[in-house]
């Protein structure tokens, strides 16, 4: 496409506005990386995590693989929540349910984790609070976590 990669540097080329419609695969959509960090903060909720993921429209995109970045993200994640979410939308693939020792240097594992975290986009759906059942809608790939006045 309109992109070239040189040694570690990405060059961006301007894209004429009239071809913008052809580039729908590049989106700022919700991936499971974000899901892993979202919590329901409805008033009174003590355990608003993890949110149940209900996806109505899922796409898979291709994102540049950065093994160091993925390896650094993994300790920050709730692994079980990631596995559950990926499984609930049918995109667990071969991702192991338990973290293996020395995963940082296992490129094959990091690639799978990268795919599940960064490449599976949820375009339409809901995130359901595990305690209250309150649904936070995902529209056009953006989860809406805003609370109503009586929920704050």
């Amino acid at each position: 496409m309109h992109r070239a990669t040189t040694t570690g540097e990405r060059l961006y080329f301007r894209v004429a506005k009239n071809v913008g419609c052809m580039l729908l695969s590049f989106r700022t959509t919700m991936r499971l990386l974000t899901h892993n960090m979202l919590t329901s903060h409805v008033k009174g909720v003590t355990n608003g995590y993890p949110l149940k993921l209900q996806a109505e429209n899922i796409k898979v995109m291709s994102v540049d693989f950065n093994p160091e970045f993925v390896a650094r993200m993994i300790p920050k994640l709730e692994w079980q929540a990631l596995v559950q979410a990926a499984e609930s939308i049918g995109h667990l693939g071969d991702l192991p349910r338990e973290l293996m020792p020395e995963y940082e240097s296992n490129e094959e594992f990091l690639k799978m984790a990268h795919h599940v975290l960064m490449e599976v986009e949820v375009i339409e759906g809901n995130l359901e609070c595990p305690e209250t059942g309150r649904k936070f809608p995902i529209k056009n790939g953006i989860p809406n976590m805003l609370l109503n006045e009586d929920e704050v």
Partner: protein, 212 residues
């Protein structure tokens, strides 16, 4: 990527058609955004390969710039649906694929950060300055950013508030460094602006945590 290139790509980021007064939606100019991000990367290695958050991302000029400089991923938060859809279309036009958007009220994240607590390496923001009805919101954004970041926070604040911020930084046990003094040439975007444009003095500040 060179600074000039970055600035030139950021020129393509479209900004608010009808900025909302209550949300203090004034865009960060491509010139300022490019300089901020370039400095963050070249002086402090705070962008490439990092997980970056942008609080009050608006049309996404800072998100876009962070992604261009090789951020591992950038999560943009904004309360306003219109700003987020503008941000989405900008990132699509620029072919950026590692930006994730969340519609949320940043001032609520403060009281219950949940899993966002210390989730990010770097937080960058151009917060509302806290004028008119929003008095104090700039400090709520800053407090929230400091809760979410493990390494550093980069933010813009009115120079007139510098002493107050210094006091707060000391209270919160964070180091602050004014990296640059800027002049914001705010075009008369809002009806209550009497003059064609208003020049305000703004500090570009880096906050970091003392090493343990």
């Amino acid at each position: 990527m060179r600074l000039k290139e970055l600035e030139s790509y950021l020129q393509d980021v479209e900004t608010f058609e009808e900025p909302k007064v209550l949300l203090e939606q004034y865009p960060t100019s491509p010139h300022i955004a490019a300089h901020m991000l370039y400095t963050m990367q070249t002086q402090y290695s705070a962008v490439e390969g990092k997980l970056v958050a942008d609080l009050g991302c608006g049309c996404g000029v800072l998100c876009a710039g962070a992604a261009m400089l090789g951020a591992g991923a950038c999560v943009g938060f904004d309360i306003d649906e219109d700003a987020l859809s503008m941000c989405q279309s900008n990132c699509t036009d620029l072919e950026l694929d590692n930006i994730h958007l969340v519609q949320a009220d940043v001032t609520h994240l403060h009281t219950c950060p949940g899993r966002w607590h210390k989730a990010f390496d770097t937080v960058i923001m151009n917060p509302p300055f806290g004028t008119k009805k929003n008095w104090g919101i700039d400090m709520i954004f800053l407090r929230t950013a400091l809760d979410m970041a493990t390494e550093s926070v980069y933010s813009l604040h009115k120079t007139s508030t510098r002493q107050h911020i210094k006091k707060k930084a000391k209270e919160w046990n964070v180091s602050m460094e004014v990296i640059a003094e800027l002049r914001f040439d705010l075009p008369a975007m809002y009806k209550f602006h009497k003059h064609k444009s208003v020049d305000i003095e703004v500090d570009f500040i880096r906050f970091s945590f003392p090493s343990k």
